[in-house]
Amino acid sequence: MAEDLGSSLEHAFGRTCEPWFIKGEVAPCLYPCLHLMRKLSTPPVAANLRVPPAPTYCSWPCQLSCQGQQNRRVVVVDPRCLAYLAIGGTRRGLLIRWYPVVADKIPNHPASPAALRKIRIRGGSLRPSPVRTRLGLRRQADYYVQRMVKYHHRCEFHCLAEFYHAALLEGDPTVNYYVPQPFALTVNGTSYVPDIYFVRDGIQHVGELKPRGEFDAALRQPLEAFFTHHGMIFVVIDNAAVFEREIAAQNWIVIIQNLLTLEHLQTQDAEWDIVEELQGSKSLTFGDFIDVGNRAATELKEAAIYRLLHRGRITANLEQEFWGLETEVQLCI
């Protein structure tokens, strides 16, 4: 049993697991703890803690970090600051305990007040409001500007992936609000503006889009702690995941532009008409509702379709096909 545990610990903690560590009897509660540790573990950032890269059992996107090894004790902290795990050893065996967060008692912990104090909010509060892009960045970046619907103002994006991501959020009925470039922060003396803030299912997220999902660990760790402290989840999104849904993103941009163009129309009756028509025939194409030769005559229906799509009442195959007259629309089940 001790050997099994030894190999598990070895697997989880690499060289920090010393032979004395697994001598003697092992507390039966160790296995649930280890299971939790495994759930927590991803490639760590601390130099003195080595976990095999990309473990298959990792289902929770967070990082382990080792905060030091004092008095033969390894402290592993969940950076979401929910709890931390202390593994200590005596000559008689292992001692593993879960402690609630007392971040200020752990030296150099990213969620400790001393560390969080280094992150400054420029502009006073964390109320999401777009940070204007300075000219230098506008000229250097792949810069896009577009009025959106869920954030009903002009939005600035610094790359195509950011723009597509916002368009995909428009099509996500669980997201009801987002703000691009929401806060201006100073992290360890460096200016930092997150790419997007969005509210999904009532939970506030702050997102950063990066190629291959690679984000500087030195910046990521304090930011995760900082946003957790403020009740938000910091996520790094892989650009490739956005580009996989490129057609959907382009379709949603077209829908947004149409929604904005026809925003002055009252479409309540037209919406009911469309729902009734779809109930009768299950699936109709977009071209069945509009008259291409006389668009003005059918603009109410056109606006109604876009609004129903945006609200998630009707659906269409937007992931594989470009939006057009042939696109089939049907009621959401």
């Binding site: 000219l135 250097q140 792949d142 577009q146 382009q250 077209v254 532009q257 163009t261 002055h264």
Partner: protein, 649 residues
Amino acid sequence: MYLTADERLQRHPSLRNFDNWPVIRIEEIEPEKRAAFRQNIKAMQLVLAQLPYDKIQKTTGLDPAQISRLKARALAGDEDEEPALTQALIPYARLAPPKRRKALATMVEGSGAACAFQALLNTVPGLKDGLEKLVRADLADDPNAENLTPGSFHQHFLVLLDRANHPQTTYPFTEDGLAYESCRRYYHDLRDLLLMEKSLKKQPKRIISPISSDFYFGREIQIDEHTFDAHTTIYLQWDSRLVPLRISRFTVLVVSDRDTTAYLAFHLAFTTHCSQFDVLSTLTKAGQYTEAITPTIEGIRCPPGAAFPNQISPQIARVAWHRVALDNAMSHHAYSVADYVCEQHLATLSLGTPASPKTRSLIENAIRRIADIGGRFKSTSGKNPADPHKESKKNFKNPPAGTVQVMLEAIYATLSQANNTPKAHLMGNTPLDVVRLSMSSYPLRQRAIDLNRTQSPFILEKRVNLKRIEGRAPHINFYYVRYRGECLANLLADGKKEVIVQYDYRDVRKLKVYTLDGRYVSEVSAPSSWQRFPHGVKTRQYIHRICHKLKIRMKDPLVEYFQLQLDRANKPRSALEMYRLYQEYTNPDIKLDPSNQSLPATFDDGKAPSESEILVHSMQPSDATKETIEIPEWSTNMAFHYNEIAADE
């Protein structure tokens, strides 16, 4: 592990059937080797059929040793490597790269230089790596690297040999050229190989344009500007003779649609650096319904009917764009441009990454077309200082024959021709046909007519202070000039200190005054000295700058500024500015207030001036102009009148 021919056949029994061997077409083999090749195939088929060698010899004429060698050549070899098979049956075919077996030649014992260079690379420590490192550094554009040539590469080769203590009595020192030719060939081969490696490894750093996209009119509109590569002229009538004046190169702006490859509009900006308002003028032109024009210049022809999509029908002109792609020029970063694109078309503004013109290849192609027109004029500035087509010194002294109108119509005709030419990638349709087709096959978005979005992009607003100074009427300071109006006194009486003024950037003679809560009050006017002609903010800023610099005060600033340009008309840039002023003073887009009698709409003869015959006026004062000397009609001789008046006084 090395496999003999029989072992290979045991491992791969399928090879016993010659039909399973790769086929080499007989035409691919040199004619003189074909007979031997056929004989070898026949022998190999008999070998695979396990006939005794003596019988094969009788049939083919090959002796057993030859048959055995052929069998081994085709089938034997390392187990991990593919056997040569049919390739080995080609007479004298080289199956493996050549390898030197003898020792390298020395002074005492010459043994030739065959494959000696390759042997050197394989045996001398650090030589191959050292040479590869040099080429890699060169290709990687390392700041400490050297721009390699075959000569310098050979020198490095010798240095590396020396460092490896290669004996001076051995190859390459036994050769007169010190293996220069081998070194040169190796350099080129290595460079090609590494370049290929680099291009294979190269991954796009970031994705800057859509990978897959739909196809319809207005999906992506591209716009760019280009300095027209030919000097042109304007004509000034001076004592009943026409004096041509050379104007500096101006800028051409072109708008095009990416999918249909149709050109939407073009605009000439009579300045070397175009501004946001030139970009806006071009964009508004592309989105307005206009009538097709017929070129007036003899020799310039364009296809009948519409030249641009906005001339086909008002519905097509009203199509809202999906995305507008611009480059990183400063004028494109203006908020007014973003306003126009994002509010009027509700489209995406894409400013792209710096130095990546290929993402907007279509517009660059349009620029090339226009540059080609410029190159046809003798007054072309050429593509570079050494261009043989560049205007000669002889011609430079005499202003060229090409006028602005010729340029204008030449560009119009060229773009019209391009829009009406069937294209292979459009399945034999013209770009304008595809635009028409898009209207019926795609739910193109139409711009809203109502709402505030249709406001001209040139209408701007500013918040200003109300001024009350002792002994002066209440006024507003706006671009160095005091604006007065009766409403201002009332506003001050109501306790207002600030108001919002709305103005047209191209004509700031009058301002509309609004209170801070958005209520329209009235209009205020600039002093009468600034009322004569429509003039923009830019002109006023120029005039103010000159007055400030020369420490002068102008009685009639608009005319005196024109006179200043006229005095320096022999300078192309001043002539260009003069032409810009002319355009501004007679801008037909600005709706003049008919009640204001002082505003000129015509020249002395009562006709509206045409752009080609600009500034055609006599410098002699006429009776008509003398009569209206208080507020004279606009003309080039206006400053002359003032001088005359000053002399009389």
